[in-house]
Symmetry: C2
Subunit: 197 residues, 2 copies
DNA sequence: CGTCTATTTGAATGTACTCAAAAGCGGTGG
DNA sequence: CCACCGCTTTTGAGTACATTCAAATAGACG
């Protein structure tokens, strides 16, 4: 008879388990390092200027990662929802304050893993090197596909492809955030949508 | 008294050595897996449609990696010169034919490491997991910075920043390839340059 | 020196942006 | 549960940034 409550780390263990097999002890080692955080809608998982020390796994909810330039313009870099990782890895690795902001678009629960803990973990359980290799490898591949999209397709095509690739997400987040991710203005996205419903 | 010829794998060992320390035996294991290739100017390290099985380290010369769309438009994704790695990792990992093309811009020497060998190597010498984690991590960070550039800066600004960041490279490669990398036409790059010499 | 390709130049065009205002929609409180 | 308020989306006019096409010039390499 189930209690009805899922073990709090089941989702992240499933995520890790997709790439490496862990013993129960290793699972314990790992989950002991995770720090849960609840973030209200429109709250922040990370703000530019604050110390960036962690990668965060989204257990529930949805966030967007963006960069803000001097004129206050926002460039949407990524979305992350249940089962995805987010973070300002560049700043965390360099030991510098965050340059990126991570904002919750819904009530969101995340698990933080600090980079110090990550390094420890990799030394104690070398399998984790592999996991994070695959994680960054995947992030790299996704970023490269997005580069290609920005370089060679017009806005309308980028929008259509995004909707095909992430149909759920395109319904889930407000259009202004989609526009920022696609590299266009909300007004122009609206015009694009009128043509392609 | 030196022979005047540098050991053929010195450059790649130095590159790996920046992140992990190898014993002489481990160095031997690694270099035994590398397959050298010489590519003439405007020859190809990899062509779209061919099997993509390797990552390649540039010992000498300079290459560009680009994607070609249905209309034949090229999107410059990366340059690689002495001391950098290149490859179509996405295709190689998926076991599918290359979608990217890697073209030599000068007479170039590369060392190929197949992904099968990479996996073997990681199992025999787990330190290599770490090396490739850091390699992909770095690639991810660079790709993310480029995304930000494309999303929030106009062409002129992207060009100026590129010249500041890679002054040598901006002299080394033809402008048409630079333009493709910056996401603009050669004609417009020419106009931008007239204003900012 | 001659050929071939890269770069420059200019005019016409198109794609996407800015600014302003109206319409729509959703979350919140009454 | 409904109505209101505020934010998001839509609409439209005017503009800017970047492209396309064509042709002239400059540079590189054999």
């Amino acid at each position: 008879m189930s209690t009805g409550t899922r073990p709090p780390h089941a989702a992240v263990l499933a995520n890790v388990g997709r790439h490496i097999a862990l013993t129960p002890e290793e699972q314990g080692l790992f989950t002991a390092l995770l720090v849960p955080q609840h973030v209200a809608r429109f709250g922040y998982v990370l703000r530019a200027g604050q110390p960036a020390r962690t990668l965060a796994f989204v257990v529930r909810g949805c966030v967007r990662t963006f960069a803000t330039d001097e004129q206050g313009r926002e460039a949407g870099l990524a979305f992350a929802w249940e089962g995805w990782w987010c973070g300002d890895a560049a700043s965390a690795l360099a030991g510098r304050p965050a340059t990126l902001t991570i904002q919750a678009l819904e009530a969101t629960d995340v698990l933080h893993l600090s980079l110090e803990h990550l390094e420890h973990l990799c030394q104690q359980v070398p399998k984790f090197e592999r996991f994070f290799r695959l994680l960054f490898q995947n992030g790299f591949l996704l970023a490269q596909r997005r580069l290609q999209a920005l370089l060679q397709w017009p806005a309308e095509e980028r929008y259509r492809r995004f909707c095909r690739q992430y149909p759920r997400l395109s319904q889930r987040v407000a259009q202004k955030y989609l526009a920022s991710y696609l590299g266009i203005t909300p007004e122009f996205l609206s015009a694009v949508r009128k043509k392609q419903p």
